[in-house]
Structures are given as structure tokens and as C-alpha cells.
């Protein structure tokens, strides 16, 4: 289960489908049926909540703030990563070894780089899901407004990581 999952407050939901059409993994369908003003409505619903990646895009897209992102308990033995969505996700080039694992898991294709070279996150493309954190073994990824450190010479980085 993702570290956050969405809960729609249906009394506040107008069914505009912003969540459905912005979700990067198409989690929602229109299977929540209500009758409002005498007519049948289909509202967004998370049928396969286990597929949610907890990015919070749905909540941020909702124009009337009818979606709460609820924290879940992490799986046993695993550390929870609770994102600060007001801050960008960045990579410290001095810690990154260019293994590409983060780039391969990114659902938004926001991480660019070549093998064995420091990777960079396109902050406008990033959806702040935190999946990259789960893959990085070098603790190179951080979620704050701290500026990206300058890249120190390669030999020094190699010495640090050995």
C-alpha cells in the first residue's frame, strides 16, 4: 500500500473528474453511483487502491479540495516516506552514482541521466510521488527547498562512496 492514499469526501465532490484524468496511474474509475437532484451520477472511485502510488496529484488537482490524502502504516520492516508536496524533489549529484534505478521507476519520466553519471530531476515534470526514494540506495534524493549542491570532482566522490 502507498504511504498516502486518497479519500474522497463525496458530499463535497461535484464529479468534475479532475482526479480521474490527472492520476498518473489511472487509479480511478466512475463506479461510485449516487442520485443527486433526482438524477443518477457516476463519481470517481478508487477501485484498486493497492495500485495507488500515493503521489497526491489527485488531491492537488481537485478544484474544491474534496480529497484528503490519508497516511497509511508502512509495511512491516519498511520505512514510511511521507512527502512534503510543497517542496521539490532533488538529487545530490555528489551522492548519486548513476545507477538509473530512480529514472526507471519514475512514473512521470522526470529523472534524466546516463549510466554512472549523476541524474537530474525535472522539477516541473516531477509529480512528487516519492517512488524514487524507495529505489535510491545512496540516500542521494531529498525533498526540500535546499539548493542542489555543486558537483565536487569525481575522484573525491568515488573516494566518498567506496
Amino acid at each position: 500500500m502507498a504511504n498516502y492514499i486518497p479519500q474522497i469526501r463525496y458530499d463535497d465532490c461535484y464529479g468534475c473528474k479532475a482526479c480521474l484524468y490527472n492520476c498518473p496511474v489511472s487509479l480511478f474509475d466512475l463506479s461510485y453511483h449516487v442520485t443527486r437532484r433526482g438524477m443518477r451520477r457516476e463519481l470517481p472511485f478508487t477501485k484498486r487502491i493497492e495500485d495507488c502510488i500515493g503521489c497526491g496529484v489527485c488531491a492537488r488537482a481537485c478544484p474544491v479540495e474534496a480529497i484528503d490524502m490519508v497516511k497509511t502504516e508502512p509495511e512491516e520492516g519498511k520505512e514510511a516516506i511521507y512527502m512534503d508536496w510543497d517542496a521539490p524533489v532533488r538529487i545530490d549529484p555528489n551522492k548519486c552514482i548513476g545507477c538509473t534505478a530512480c529514472a526507471r521507476i519514475c512514473p512521470s519520466n522526470a529523472i534524466k541521466g546516463t549510466v554512472k553519471n549523476p541524474h537530474v530531476i525535472d522539477e516541473d515534470q516531477c509529480i512528487r510521488c516519492g517512488l524514487c526514494f524507495t529505489k535510491c540506495k545512496k540516500d542521494a534524493i531529498y525533498n526540500s527547498n535546499d539548493p542542489i549542491p555543486e558537483l565536487v570532482a569525481k575522484e573525491e566522490v568515488k573516494a566518498d562512496t567506496e
Binding site: 461535484y14 464529479g15 468534475c16 484524468y21 443518477r40 519520466n109 515534470q125
Partner: protein, 673 residues
């Protein structure tokens, strides 16, 4: 981010190359995005005299500045091109689900240049754009093609893409073809789908996940909550019959300016089709190809057989476009209706335009035929407004002996649903007489002869919608002077009354809450300023991606100016945004002039302005002094009132020489992918 991406995608279909085009902030700040950006790009890239069906034409598919920023009722996408129907700027506008997917690929707009020699479609996701072969879906209707394209590009666990496609009419390069999305929503007008077909572009499939935001998301959402709450307070239970509105017959003719929230009641309860009874009773709905009247030609019993309540009986669900909190749409089950030889089942509810175009306009009370034809036209990807118009012309020509059974192959009569269905199908496929009619009334007259012109009702090559301009001089003027003529969505007296623009825009004249309509026939600067206020505001709304039914909710409910400022942080006033609207309005006229059109080209057909006036019915005796109205509107727009050409000082004041003639490298940076 300020709501817009700052980048468009240019696809050259001849060389099969894709280029990222970064556009300077000053273009957005002076034109907004959406259809305005499309019009600017078309002006800069379509050479004078370009064949609309040739490779020199450009087709822009665009979403608005506000889309996906957290505003509501702002999910429209638009097609902008040189129209084959008019020879000037062509635009079509659609709801559905496609708009957010354009921006989620990181582009405000996708512009198609050149033409492919084989059927292709554009696919784009986070990895970027690629042109793919579409020969396996060429020949499919728009809905089937959309379904096939989405399924073959859906990857489990990733974002499901959305698509827009053309149908048979677009492939046949009909001047009435549109571009479809979400199983039958359509950007229908002015042949934009025909242009897409001429480029052998079957569709677009988009599946990116790039986030979009405005400068001040909290303020945007605060406004959205207010709008959503107000809209959802205005409704009637569906058991209330739409026939109740027939009491309008007994009302005197009045200028009404209630808060636009009252139109929300109509839309929210029955959808636009709820208007048909009211429209027919008040003279709003043209009847018998603009030549008849409800009193003589279409009894109230027939109206009641085909009104909005009949549709609600078949409705299984409400339908909401992306970001809409209004939900004027619906889904119907038509599996059991007569004439349904295609086995259609779950379909979109017809809009008022389609509903009236295939019923009262052609004197048919066959509701099933209308329901079937609406879906058939959606599948064909053809504009129901123009199709109804050209069918009306053909029927009247037949009834008056200009067309015979030998010409058509069967009989054509007013109210004969079988004939109407046969002819519409032929038009969709360019078969038989349908090939002559498939490009609209103006082209049909060129092919058939000038004696048909009296029945060919259009303005500048665009058939008018089901909103009679004889009782509404403001609307008649807008049909004439907008650069995309014959469009009720440019505005009119009733809409101006709902918008309440004068509460935000310092120069917009107020309309009285309830009053006589006589003043609307006056030739006055005040009347022209009302017309221009509608026209400029429409340009703002189309730059933002807003819906027409949003802007007729009124400025108290639909805070367009406030949303734009919250998204961009520009600190502009409503007057500043209307100045942008004026700039776009003027630019579109300059496009037409560059393409060789004389501004008088869009003077409406006589029937649209009461030349001669009807003798019977609500619009009896009404004539709009259209020449004087056009000239006064031009004068107030800063154009030469005799020629309709924008005056040099107007062009200079709007800075259009700089934006339209300065080197394009000043405004863009290209990176070939």
C-alpha cells in the same frame, strides 16, 4: 508555473519531424493561450492565399490557460485553422476530456503543418511525441477509431491516454467535418475536421503526466468552491416537464437580464435540449430553413414530442466534461429506438442545436430519427448545425422543384424522417447528392447554380445555429462581424443580459433587469459596445479554456477575470483582459483580410436578418438594419466603418504590428526533437 506551459509542439507531417517551440511570456500576456494562441500561430504561419485543404494550412489543437489549474468549467479544447468553409480563420470548440491531456504532455498547443501522404496519428507521452501508422483505423468512425487507438496505446499501471479522432466526414475532407473525443463530443464547426483529414491525420493520442498549476492555487480553488456551490444550488427536479417553458409563448417580448445563474437551472436540469420549447415559442428557434414559423408550421404538440423531457426519459446518467461542476450533458440508452440500423446503445444526449436542427428546423416530429441522426453524425464526425442547414436547403429546393427525384434518388419533404435520414447518411459519406452537399450551403450553390442561393442560409460560408437573429439584433450583428461568422457563442442580447459584464468592465454598458427590446434595433454606440463586449469577452474565455455555459452564468458565478489573475499573478484588471480580448478580435479580422476576404463577406443571408421579414409568427415584421449595425460596430471596434478594415491607429494601439509582423524569432525558440 502561471497556468501555461510556455511551449507548443510543432509537427511537420510532410517531413515527419517534431519540434518543441518555446514561446515567450509576452505572447501569453498579450494574447492568453487557447484559441488566441492558435490564431496568433495561424497568422504567423499560414501564407496568404493558402489552400485550406493543402499542406500550407496549419491545424492547431489547443487547450486553455486555466485548464488544470484548479478552476472549474474550464476544460475546453479548441481547433484553430484556416477554414475551407469561409476562407478565413476557422475555429471549433469542444468539452469532453481531451483538454487536460494536451497540457499534461507539457504543451499548450499542438500545431500540425504540412500533410502526410499516408494515414498517421500522433502519440505523445512522457517520452515525447511520435507519429504512428493509422492505416488500420482509416475508414473507422470517430468513436470506434478512438477506442482502438486508446486500447492499443494503454499500458497497464500507466496513465490511460485520451484521444481525439476524425470520422468518415473528416477523411472525406468535408467542409462540415469536426474532430471528436470521448465517444462523440465534437469540435464541429467550420470544417476543422476536414482540414485534419486533408493532412491524413486520423487522430491524436496523449498520455503524459506533467503537473499543471497556477501562481496562486489557493485563491483559484477558493473561487472554484464559490462557483461550484452557486451552480449546484440552481436546479429543478427532473420530473418537472420541459414543456413548462412553453408558457414563454404568452410573455411579451422583453429584454431580460437576470443573473446568469438562472440559465444554470435550465442546463442543469434538462441540458441544452431543455431550451427547445422555450426557443420555439419565443421565436428564438428558426423553423423550416428560416422561412417558417411555429404558429403555421410546427404545432406545440410536435414540440412536446421532441423536447428535453423526452430525452430525460432515456437518460441513464448525467455527463460532465472535464472540470465541469454543472453537468449539462447526459448519456442515453437508444438501443430500442426506431431507425437504429447501426445498433447504437449508449450515446451522448443531443444538444439543443442538433435536436432542433433535425426536428423543428426540418418540420419533423420524429424524436427517434433525431436521436439516431445525432449519434450517426457524431460517429461520422460531422457538424450537425451545418448538416441540418444544408439538408434544409435541399428539402426546400426539392419542394420548390429545383431538385427532383432523379437528382436525389428518392423523395425529400418537410418532416419526412426517412428522407432526412437517407440524405444525412449520404452527406456523411459523400455519396450521390451527398457529395454535392457535403461542403455546406455556399459550396452547394457554386455546384448547383445561383438559383439555389435563396435557400442557402449562411453567413460567410458558415450555416447559422438554431438561434434566430431576427428578434436579436445584437446576435445578428455578431453573426456578421465576428471573424468566425454565424456563431451564437459569440454572444447576443440574452447572453449579454446574463453575463453582467458591466459589473466588472468599466466601458460595458449596463442592461436593464427587465425592459423593452425596442432599443436593440437602434443604431447606437451603446448597442455596439454591448456587441463588442460579448465578442471581446469570448476571446478571453477561449484563451482561458472556458466553457460558453460558464460565461453565461454571469460574472458573479463565473469569476473568469479573477481566475486568470490568480493563475498568472499578472495583476491585470478586467479592463486589461478585455483589451487582450480586443487584440485577439482584431487579429482574427486581420487574418481574414490577409487571406483575401473583404469584411463584407460575412453579411448574413437575408432570412437571418428579415430581408424580407416573415409574415406570420413571433418574428413577423422583424428586420434587422444589418448594414448600419455592422458599420456602427466596426466604428466602435476602431475599424473603418465603410470597409470593415481595422484602422492603422487601432492596430498600432493594440501593438499588433509588433506581434504580427516582427521577426518570429523575437517570440519563439525552436528545438527539433
Amino acid at each position: 508555473m502561471k497556468g501555461y506551459c510556455g511551449k507548443i509542439l510543432k509537427v511537420d507531417l510532410t517531413t515527419k519531424t517534431c519540434t518543441d517551440v518555446y514561446i515567450n511570456d509576452e505572447i501569453y500576456e498579450n494574447f492568453l493561450s487557447g484559441a488566441a494562441l492558435g490564431a496568433w500561430w495561424c497568422y504567423r504561419n499560414i501564407p496568404a492565399g493558402a489552400d485550406p485543404m493543402g499542406p500550407d494550412n496549419v491545424l492547431c489543437i489547443t487547450s486553455g490557460l486555466l485548464t488544470s489549474t484548479g478552476s472549474v468549467i474550464t476544460g475546453r479544447w479548441m481547433c484553430v485553422t484556416k477554414s475551407p468553409a469561409t476562407g478565413g480563420i476557422g475555429e471549433a470548440n469542444c468539452g469532453g476530456t481531451f483538454a487536460p491531456f494536451i497540457k499534461a504532455c507539457g504543451y499548450d498547443m499542438i500545431a500540425f503543418h504540412g500533410a502526410s501522404d499516408t494515414p498517421v496519428y500522433l502519440y505523445c507521452d512522457n517520452d515525447g511525441p511520435v507519429l504512428k501508422d493509422a492505416s488500420h483505423i482509416w475508414g473507422q468512425d470517430a468513436a470506434v477509431a478512438e477506442k482502438m487507438l486508446v486500447e492499443e496505446n494503454t499500458v497497464p499501471g500507466k496513465k490511460r491516454p485520451q484521444a481525439c479522432t476524425i470520422g468518415w466526414a473528416g477523411e472525406n475532407k468535408s467542409f462540415m467535418a469536426g474532430v471528436c473525443n470521448d465517444n462523440g463530443r465534437i469540435a464541429a464547426r467550420q470544417g476543422v475536421g476536414g482540414v485534419m483529414g486533408s493532412k491524413m491525420l486520423k487522430g491524436l493520442v496523449l498520455g503524459g503526466t506533467r503537473p499543471v498549476s497556477g501562481a496562486n492555487p489557493e485563491e483559484i480553488k477558493k473561487l472554484s468552491k464559490m462557483c461550484a456551490k452557486r451552480v449546484n444550488m440552481a436546479f429543478l427536479p427532473p420530473q418537472v416537464p420541459a414543456g413548462l417553458l412553453n408558457v414563454a409563448k404568452f410573455l411579451p417580448e422583453l429584454q431580460l437580464s437576470p443573473d446568469g445563474i438562472f440559465t444554470g437551472v435550465l442546463m442543469g436540469t434538462w441540458g441544452t435540449a431543455g431550451a427547445s420549447g422555450f426557443a420555439a415559442q419565443t421565436g428564438e428557434a428558426p423553423i423550416k430553413n428560416w422561412g417558417g414559423s411555429q404558429k403555421e408550421d410546427f404545432h406545440i404538440r410536435k414540440i412536446n414530442k421532441t423536447d428535453g423531457s423526452q430525452m430525460l426519459k432515456l437518460q441513464t446518467n448525467r455527463y460532465y466534461c472535464y472540470s465541469c461542476v454543472y453537468g449539462c450533458g447526459g448519456e442515453l440508452d437508444i438501443s430500442h429506438i426506431k431507425h437504429n440500423d447501426q445498433g447504437y446503445s449508449r450515446v451522448h444526449k443531443p444538444e439543443y442545436e442538433s435536436q432542433w436542427d433535425f426536428t423543428g428546423f426540418l418540420l419533423s416530429d420524429d424524436n427517434d430519427a433525431m436521436l439516431f441522426l445525432n449519434e450517426y453524425c457524431n460517429r461520422a464526425g460531422i457538424d450537425t448545425i451545418s448538416t441540418g442547414g444544408v439538408v434544409g436547403m435541399a428539402i426546400e429546393a426539392y419542394e420548390n422543384g429545383l431538385l427532383t427525384k432523379e437528382d436525389v434518388g428518392y423523395e425529400l419533404h418537410w418532416g419526412d424522417a426517412e428522407g432526412i435520414i437517407k440524405l444525412t447518411k449520404q452527406i456523411c459519406h459523400r455519396e450521390g447528392i451527398g457529395d454535392v452537399l457535403a461542403d455546406g450551403c455556399k459550396k452547394a450553390v457554386e455546384r448547383l447554380g445561383p438559383e439555389f442561393a435563396k435557400y442557402a442560409v449562411h453567413a460567410g460560408g458558415t450555416e447559422p445555429p438554431m438561434h434566430d437573429s431576427r428578434p436579436d439584433p445584437q446576435q445578428a450583428t455578431l453573426y456578421a462581424i465576428d471573424a468566425t461568422p454565424s456563431r451564437h457563442t459569440s454572444g447576443g442580447s440574452l447572453y449579454y443580459g446574463c453575463m453582467h459584464l458591466w459589473k466588472k468592465v468599466t466601458w460595458a454598458p449596463p442592461a436593464v433587469l427587465v425592459g423593452g427590446k425596442e432599443g436593440e434595433w437602434q443604431i447606437s454606440d451603446e448597442e455596439s459596445l454591448k456587441v463588442l463586449a460579448c465578442a471581446y469577452f469570448k476571446r478571453v474565455v477561449d484563451g482561458a479554456g472556458g466553457c460558453y455555459f460558464g460565461f453565461i452564468l454571469g460574472t458573479a458565478t463565473y469569476p473568469m477575470f479573477e481566475w486568470l489573475d490568480a493563475a498568472t499573478g499578472w495583476g491585470k484588471t478586467p479592463d486589461d483582459y478585455m483589451w487582450i480580448g480586443r487584440r485577439v478580435f482584431t487579429m482574427r479580422h486581420m487574418f481574414n483580410i490577409k487571406q483575401g476576404l473583404d469584411p463584407w463577406y460575412s453579411r448574413p443571408h437575408g432570412r437571418m436578418v428579415g430581408e424580407p421579414p416573415l409574415k406570420v409568427g413571433k418574428n413577423a415584421g422583424k428586420t434587422v438594419p444589418i448594414d448600419a449595425k455592422m458599420m456602427n460596430a466596426w466604428k466602435n471596434a476602431g475599424f473603418d466603418e465603410k470597409t470593415g478594415m481595422p484602422l492603422p491607429e487601432t492596430v498600432e494601439a493594440l501593438n499588433l504590428n509588433y506581434f504580427l509582423e516582427g521577426p518570429i524569432e523575437n517570440f519563439i525558440k525552436e528545438e527539433v526533437r
